[in-house]
């Protein structure tokens, strides 16, 4: 018995001494906590990189759906939103929610950068701070452009587009004031011109548009994508990367501009233009046209200037055979170079708008493109304000294709989402913010995407020329902010 006690004692000692090796409480946490990151004291540079990444994520949520909702693209078969193609905007639609959430995330990320990251990193530069103001301003601008009204802060009451623009302008001006980066400042000027344009403030829009043009004649700022580590360009995915799916198909009038994005290499995605100098010219053109016939000549010059920039923009040549036009429903869409397209019934049939899709390569503009030749933008060809307005909106449509901008030009606006309504105490179902905006002149039941195609004859006739419709409804409060 005694020896047993010794054995137990000896074993107990052994166990006590070995227990540190058996410690089961060690844990490995895969997360980087907020304290970890802010504790580095040098978080601002990666945070700014993260803002670029967040911008890419934000635009991924809105470009595809905005393009579907517009006349630019028809959603032929995929799980991308179908209601928007009609267009119908229900506040219960998940995409409505995603657009609101992702823009809010861009704003909150910028504010976090200003209020939390900046104090933690003494090496923060004015240029970095300016960028954060820019992103904050951009979020307000996007909410103004895409929503009837929307909260400008978490759980906030919905504010009008004009109020959002007020906040955007304030942020953009802060960026402009403190930035030392000449290139970025061109973009801030364009953003300010675009913001003032949205609320119809002609003097300020002109001022900042002119400032931008004088500082950066060929300026373009891109949303960058990372095909290797993601996010990949979702619009590129929708246009070409989904292989055998036809996905989004352009209006035949815009066929030559598609696909604006393609797989440059297996891992290099196309970038999306965020701000480009063409817009400053087009804002000036619209401002001049809103002055009436007196402004027409100047407006045509502005458009010529825009087209001059466009003519110097890069084009890419690549194999696009997999991006079938007619695979799903053979013969339903024009896909041969010989096809002529009429922008509306009774309109002139224009050749050269459709590319030979099964040729070994196609050549497509990757920043801006237009079917309009600068030389043709003359008073003879466009003798009236309305004719020039129609031209302007066509050029806007062509230049901004696949950038998610046509949506706003058409007067479309999303409602705030159902999730916002049920969990934000400052919004109630039935408030104006909860109902989207589809102007009465917008054709129903996918009418904007509709066209007839006679394959044998080689002609495609678009059912509704939306640029003509816009001009006919130019006094509608939902569009053409300088006129209304």
């Amino acid at each position: 018995m005694k020896s047993n006690i010794y054995k137990i004692f000896a074993a107990s000692l052994l166990i006590f001494s070995s227990c540190s090796l058996l410690d089961p409480t060690e844990v490995v946490n895969p997360n980087l906590t907020e304290d970890n990151i802010l504790g580095t004291g040098s978080a601002m540079t990666p945070w700014i990189n993260g803002m670029e990444r967040q911008l890419a994520l934000t635009y991924n949520e809105l470009i595809v759906v905005n393009e579907i909702a517009s006349d630019n693209y028809a959603n032929t078969e995929t799980y991308y939103n179908q209601s928007f193609d009609t267009p119908v905007f229900n506040n219960t639609d998940e995409n409505v929610n995603d657009v609101l959430q992702t823009i809010s995330r861009l704003r909150e990320s910028a504010i976090y950068g200003l209020e939390v990251v900046k104090p933690s990193d003494e090496s923060t530069t004015p240029d970095q701070e300016a960028e954060l103001y820019f992103y904050k301003g951009l979020s307000h601008l996007l909410l103004a452009e895409l929503f009837v009204s929307a909260p400008a802060e978490p759980d906030g009451a919905p504010v009008t587009a004009a109020e959002q623009i007020g906040m955007a302008v304030e942020a953009f001006k802060s960026a402009l004031d403190i930035s030392t980066n000449a290139d970025n400042k061109v973009g801030y000027n364009i953003a300010l011109a675009r913001a003032y344009y949205r609320i119809g403030d002609k003097p300020n829009a002109r001022t900042y548009a002119n400032a931008a043009i004088s500082q950066g004649a060929n300026y373009v700022r891109f949303i960058k994508y990372d095909g290797l580590n993601l996010p990949a360009n979702e619009m590129q995915v929708a246009l070409v990367d989904r292989g055998s799916f036809d996905d989004l198909q352009p209006l035949p009038r815009l066929d030559f501009l598609d696909p604006k994005y393609y797989a440059i290499t297996a891992t290099d995605n196309s970038n999306v233009p965020l701000l480009k100098i063409e817009e400053a010219h087009l804002i000036l053109a619209e401002a001049n046209l809103s002055d009436g016939i007196t402004g027409l000549p100047l407006a045509l010059i502005n458009i010529q200037n825009a087209l001059g920039v466009v003519s110097n923009r890069p084009k890419s040549t690549f194999n696009d055979q997999v991006d079938g036009r007619t695979q799903d429903d053979p013969g339903s869409r024009p896909n041969e170079a010989g096809v002529t397209v009429a922008a509306g019934p009774g309109e002139m049939r224009i050749p050269g708008l459709v590319l030979e899709r099964q040729a070994s390569t196609v050549t497509v503009p990757t920043v801006s493109g237009s079917s309009i030749s600068s030389a043709n933008v003359t008073l003879v060809n466009y003798p009236s304000v309305d004719a020039a307005l129609e031209l302007l909106y066509l050029v806007r449509q062509e230049i901004f294709i696949a950038e998610g901008r046509r949506f706003t030009d058409l007067g479309l606006r999303y409602p705030v989402s159902y999730n916002e309504i049920v969990s934000n105490p400052n919004i109630n179902e039935g408030d104006p913010a909860t109902v989207g905006q589809i102007p009465s002149f917008i054709p129903k039941a996918k009418g904007m995407d509709s066209f007839t195609y006679d394959k044998d004859e080689g002609t495609a006739v678009i059912t509704t020329n939306m640029n003509k419709v816009l001009v006919a409804n130019k006094n509608d409060a939902s569009i053409m902010p300088f006129i209304n």
Binding site: P24, E94, Q101, V117
Partner: protein, 941 residues
């Protein structure tokens, strides 16, 4: 925790240091009815953990301590007997049939074995005999249609994929409903969803369940949740499956050999186009060789079983190979300490093709009309499609998964004094898997994803996961009697340490023909690592009064290293009562046993839980590589108070034996409420935050469980029995979402599976259209409730027939009713202009978002899973070299009856995250379970 480990070792040492004198007892056990010997009967020395089993001739031999008083002889299906030892050394025992099975000993949920009669909860037990009628390949297939109140559905006919295992509705909107699984007391990796980093096949996700080493099973126990699972604490709300492997039987070495040869063939039952089978399916060969060896002395027993299995698959790129073995060794070290060790290994390799939500999946493309209406193809066109399109794709598919898994359990049972038994178990489950997808340019060109001539788009993805689970388990049971009272006191502690490491390697622009990502133009990688510890302590008391009335009490405390001191230990109580009223003399006198032979009433209340996703409480920022630099973004919002969700269950039921025990009926009513339910719900969108796991929900499940068995015929030569179960889910609802908006747990934008207050978890949400008489779309209700994929009624059934104990027939099946699913294949056919007539002609141009409800169908089914027929060859046909020769035929998945136009069992929508909840319900481009015809030969030497 350190102190606990120390205590265990001290106890071990005490035990191994004390010796006592044994004496030897022998005997034979036969069936009272026919006098035939009963092999595998449990012989236990009461008050100790010593025991043995009878050999093939019903003989046993056991050493018992000098102070041992009684033996317990128990065998499933027979009434147990307790024998006073006295001075006797030979016992010949005749066991009588007893369908009541109340004296059956169960372990799961009780710490150490305890008689069923003492329990207020139910434990479903499957014996090795019941298992023998099914090919032993993977656990979920094995259990299918065998558990009366659990539903097991395999999501795909492709190998190694996830299953849905659920019993009482869904108690969590965050976690997979898969029960925790133990093999020989050691918890094993039960990940039944995709891993954090894993190959995306479009649908079918890989699971850890199919490769759990299940060789050499003695029995399986299943508890469904509620009070039965309280002792498993904060992880067990979905129930517990416990697998016990064979420890060997004392006696001369016995060798078993089993050969199974079969054909595996894709079922056409659910196909839209029979031509799909003509193009893609083939009849594959399956072969399985199993060698078993067992024997031992009265001190030491051993058991080994090894298996080599190969299955060509019923379609290309689904071949599967596996090598399994398990070896067990049990030894009585002395009168006090017994050791038992179990080692299992499994190596599996199988192919997988894309499916479901992948445009690369050949099966889905054929079935959904991507190549046109196959039924209108000429045979020339079919051949052309097969040879020019599908075969080039299939020749270039290269998705391979390799799993190697080692599992061991080491336990010491210590009986330092009469009626006191302690058991210490330590074990490991080590699982290493590799998923490798090689997509060559040739493959991408064959798929028409890339133009002919493309040379720079090939890629390789490799996903590695290494899981190591350590289990330490200690419990002690003390039995005492005082006058009319008996007490079983149990205390125990468990610690689980899980190390989950994953990495993903991606190579793009890979040189054609390469198997290594080294030969890539660019590579990227990701990793994931999580190490955490769950631990718990419990105490339970079972008090009996006159061996008829029993009360149970238990309490467990649980902690988890992922949640720190702020959350602390969680407590889970249980209380229960059982009353064996048929043992009362007034009952026996009033009601003859040929009318009611048994009546037991039981009721209980208990809690169990589910931990939140580890570290989901942290407020984080993320760092991601972006264009070659680190990019920080907002991460999860965090919640410092995040804690386990708690599921409380009230349960009441009765067990009824009729007609002298020929008929047994069991009925249970349960009501579960999950409080602090974990919802990965969105914040108000204007916050711009990602969804965060929060304890904001409440979930209620209510229902009835019935199981019945009827021994229809029990003659000298004939024996026929039938069993069936019926489970009714009367309520399965999210009763509160804490004001949070609903959120998706699967499916698609146009028709998804959502969690919302007042609805079933995972209810199908989409537009519900109303068509006018002319077929135009009159209106639609947006985001309508289109039904729940969780069945309201389900159950299983089985029939067993034997003739002269030589010829045995077994049939099992299961069914469900009252669930709904989405025919996603039909949606794709609609996209391809090949829709059936569910959408009126006049509404074909409507947005498919607005008419989504047309694709939701009732998913009632009755499936016969298994028909097996075996015959023991009479002695005159077998050589004396063989103790027994059995030949047999097994048919798997022979018959399917179903209401939907797709296979209601398969699903292309798995969990959104590792360990996440999934409800199934999306029939989608995925092959159904194949039909298999297997011939078997079992030889015993």
């Amino acid at each position: 925790m350190k102190k606990l480990v120390q205590s265990l070792f001290v106890l071990l040492l005490i035990a191994s240091s004390v010796l006592a004198q044994d004496r030897r007892i022998t005997g034979k056990v036969t069936a009272a009815e026919d006098g035939l010997p009963l092999p595998g009967v449990s012989v236990k020395v009461i008050g100790t953990n010593q025991g043995t089993q009878t050999d093939a001739n019903g003989n046993f031999a056991i050493s018992v301590p000098a102070n041992a008083k009684s033996l317990e002889i128990s065998y499933i299906g027979f009434a147990s007997q307790t024998l006073q030892i006295g001075t006797r050394s030979v016992f010949n025992v005749a066991l009588a049939n007893d369908a009541k099975q109340l004296s059956e000993v169960v372990v799961t949920g009780q710490g150490i074995g305890i008689e069923k009669k003492r329990l207020s909860t139910t434990v479903d037990k499957i014996t090795s005999e019941e298992i023998a009628s099914t090919p032993i390949v993977q656990l979920d297939q094995l259990l299918q249609a065998k558990l009366p109140s659990a539903q097991i559905r395999l999501g795909s006919g492709q190998p190694g994929t996830t299953s849905l295992i659920r019993s009482r509705g869904l108690v969590s909107a965050n976690s997979s409903p898969t029960p925790v699984i133990y093999v020989d007391g050691v918890r094993v990796d039960n990940l039944n969803t995709q891993a954090n980093l894993s190959y995306d096949s479009g649908g079918a996700q890989s699971s850890s369940i199919p490769d759990i080493p299940i060789e050499n099973i003695e029995s399986i126990e299943f508890i469904k949740g509620g009070a039965a699972t309280t002792l498993y604490g904060a992880d067990a709300a979905n129930g517990v499956i416990q697998i016990f492997t064979k420890k060997g039987v004392a006696g001369k070495p016995e060798i078993n050999f089993e050969l199974q040869l079969g054909a595996v063939s894709g079922t056409k039952d659910y196909l839209k186009y029979n031509e799909t089978a003509d193009i893609l399916f083939k009849t594959g060969l399956s072969q399985s060789y199993r060698l078993g060896l067992s024997g031992g002395s009265d001190k030491t027993t051993y058991s080994f079983s090894g298996n080599i299995y190969q299955n060509d698959g019923f379609r290309p790129n689904n071949a599967q190979k596996r090598y399994n073995f398990r070896t067990n060794l049990s030894s009585k070290l002395n009168d006090i300490v017994a050791y038992s060790g179990s080692f299992g290994f499994s190596a599996n390799q199988f192919g997988r093709d894309d499916n479901a939500n992948s445009s690369a999946g050949s099966f889905g493309n054929l079935e959904t009309g991507a190549y046109g209406d196959l039924s209108e193809f000429t045979s020339f066109q079919i051949d052309s499609l097969k040879n020019r399109v599908i075969s080039p794709i299939q020749r270039n598919v290269n998705n391979l998964e390799t799993v190697r898994r080692f599992q061991t359990s080491q336990s010491f049972t210590i009986t330092p004094m009469k009626d006191l038994t302690s058991k210490f178990t330590f074990g490991i489950d080590s699982r290493n898997s590799e998923q490798k997808q090689i997509a060559t340019n040739a493959y991408l060109i064959a798929l028409e994803f890339e133009a002919p001539g493309t040379v720079d788009q090939g890629y390789i993805d490799v996903y590695n996961r290494s899981f190591l689970g350590l289990t330490g388990d200690f419990n002690t049971q003390y039995k005492a009697e005082l006058n009319d009272f008996s007490f079983i006191s149990t205390v125990g502690a468990q610690v689980f340490r899980n190390i989950d490491k994953q990495n993903a390697l991606h190579g793009t622009n890979v040189t054609e023909g390469s198997r290594s990502i080294n030969n890539s133009a660019s590579t990227t990688s990701e990793d994931y690592e999580q190490v955490l510890v769950n631990y718990g302590f419990y105490a339970a008391e079972n008090i009996g009064y006159k061996n008829k009335l029993f009360a149970e009490f238990g309490l467990r405390f649980d902690g988890n290293s992922a949640f720190g001191k702020d959350v602390g230990l969680q407590s889970f109580p249980k209380v229960g009562l059982s009353y064996n009223i048929s043992d009362e003399s007034f009952f026996v006198n009033a009601i003859p046993s040929k009318v009611i032979s048994q009546l037991k009433l039981r009721a209980n209340y208990g809690q169990a839980g589910q931990f939140p996703t580890a570290f989901a409480n942290d407020r984080t920022l993320t760092s991601n590589p972006f264009l070659g630099v680190p990019a920080y973004n907002l991460g999860q919002a965090g919640d410092p108070n995040l804690r386990p969700e708690t599921t409380s269950t009230y349960e009441a039921g009765l067990d009824l034996g009729l007609l002298n025990g020929k008929m047994n009926i069991s009925g249970t009513y349960y009501q579960t409420k999950t409080e602090d339910a974990l919802f990965l719900a969105p914040f108000t969108p204007s916050y711009g935050l990602s969804n965060q796991l929060r304890n904001i929900g409440e979930i209620s499940n209510k229902g009835w469980e019935f199981a019945a068995s009827y021994h229809i015929l029990s003659k000298k030569d004939f024996d026929l029995s039938f069993n069936a179960s019926y489970n009714l889910l009367t309520e399965s609802l999210v009763t509160s979402s804490g004001g949070a908006p609903e959120f998706s747990i699967g499916g698609f934008t146009f028709l998804g599976s959502f969690v919302k207050e007042g609805r079933a978890i995972g209810y199908l949400r989409g537009s519900k259209p109303t068509f006018a008489s002319d077929g135009t779309l009159e209106s639609f209700e947006a985001n309508a409730d289109l039904g729940s994929p969780i069945p309201k009624h389900f159950g299983s059934m089985g029939l067993n027939f034997s003739y002269k104990n030589k010829l045995n027939l077994s049939i099992t099946g299961d069914y469900q009713m009252g669930a709904y699913g989405v025919n996603v294949d039909e949606v794709l056919r609609y996209f391809n202009g090949l829709q059936d007539d569910r959408i009126p002609e006049a509404s074909l141009e409507e947005s498919f978002f607005d008419i989504a409800g047309v694709w939701v169908e009732k998913t009632d089914y009755l499936k016969i899973r298994n028909i097996s027929l075996s015959y023991n060859l009479p002695k005159q046909f077998t050589s004396n070299a063989f103790k027994n020769v059995e030949i047999g035929v097994i048919v798997l998945n022979p018959l399917n009856f179903y209401s939907s136009t797709f296979d209601p069992e398969i699903t292309g929508s798995g969990a959104n995250k590792q360990g996440g909840v999934s409800v199934g319900g999306f029939g989608f481009g995925t092959e159904s379970l194949p039909r298999q015809f297997i011939g078997s030969l079992r030889v015993k030497f």
